[in-house]
Symmetry: C2
Subunit: 258 residues, 2 copies
Amino acid sequence: MATDNGSSSGNNILSVVGTGPGDLDYLIPAARKALEQADVIVGYRTYLDLIAEVIDDKKVVSSSMMQEVDRVKQAFDLAETGKHVALVSGGDPGIYAMAGLVYEIAELREIKTEIRVVAGIAALNSCAERLGAPLMHDFAAISLSDLLTPWELIEKRVRAAVDADFVLVIYNPKSKKRDWQLGKVFEMVLNKRPGSTPVGMVRGATRENEEVSVATLDDFDTAGVDMQTTVIIGNSTTFISNGKMITPRGYGAKYQLI
Amino acid sequence: MATDNGSSSGNNILSVVGTGPGDLDYLIPAARKALEQADVIVGYRTYLDLIAEVIDDKKVVSSSMMQEVDRVKQAFDLAETGKHVALVSGGDPGIYAMAGLVYEIAELREIKTEIRVVAGIAALNSCAERLGAPLMHDFAAISLSDLLTPWELIEKRVRAAVDADFVLVIYNPKSKKRDWQLGKVFEMVLNKRPGSTPVGMVRGATRENEEVSVATLDDFDTAGVDMQTTVIIGNSTTFISNGKMITPRGYGAKYQLI
């Protein structure tokens, strides 16, 4: 990767770009263009590795996980020197990712840098694709991380979503330090839906270590679930066909499908 | 567009491909490749027009809206003659779109054609991008179309999502024949959240006729909302900054953002 040549292009732009799940076939052209136009790329190392061939000749500032606030401040500091900075996140920066923090910090620090968010293929899109068609009907996306959200609120949301028969998309289901929440969610779902309810998980979608499995609430093994995993729990109508998880939209009640 | 040359490639493949919002900069390379590899393209005319330059030399079977079941059957019939057929939907075929119907009909008719779903940028991704960062926290996606779902169930889901302070992503908010549901949803939200709650709408994201507006529940004008529109209603923490709608993830409570 090239070193900084000291030029200031007078851009003052912060592009917030998602890599999608990882495979470059899932990186939208708008995101690739933003990366190509940027003077500097800022991001968490793992995500930068996924797009290495796109940002090969760029100045890169990489950091480790869990330093989101510092990373955004650093990206703004660089942009304010007249650079076009691309801040890279995984998936879609607009879904549980970096876009919000960027706007929040811009507001608090009264930053005038132009902010450009570029959508991406989020975990829910790639996970749904791998599992079949689980998101054909209303769904609730819920993160189980209680780092920034009290567990009571998470539990309240799970209960509400289960009661109203939403499909559940579970972000951050489990980490090394946080291992009981997913089991608790399954327990809550089992109070309202049968053990035969389909559950799917996708780990590292489109990457070399991708793992996909579809099972039922009774049979699902949470051992393989980690922070790289997204879990989808079916609603009362979701069924499994040839290993795929399908939530009908309701055409069958109105139209002749055969 | 080319006429059928009568060749049978022995592929027997049905690719289910989303155009994303419309602009080709939002069409993922995996979807473009599937379209390029296909022998025949099947889809609703409006979506095919959006990708005209990609499918220019292909045999195309277009149809009008509201004939989803017939379109899927036709796509399978063509695939079973040994073709690779790409069935095109808008957005992400895995979110309220064609993937489910494809798997359902395959199961009922015991079809052996290989099915390949390719994810896409869904309305919720492009709408969130245009509005700012409304989906930084848990959200519920709900379609207001009561064509295939009883209104009572839709209302139950809206109520549950409002009670548990989800951000709401409203699909199919309004059509020519169905004009009161969105107002009813606003009424339900106003029972629990203040009139200052941010609401955003995006119509025809990335297209020539794109319209984006951010307002509050009190001020929001539903006149411009139609079937091409997605509406996002903030949770109790969502705020407006420089015309953007932002739902904080919660960093501010734990970290020094300035």
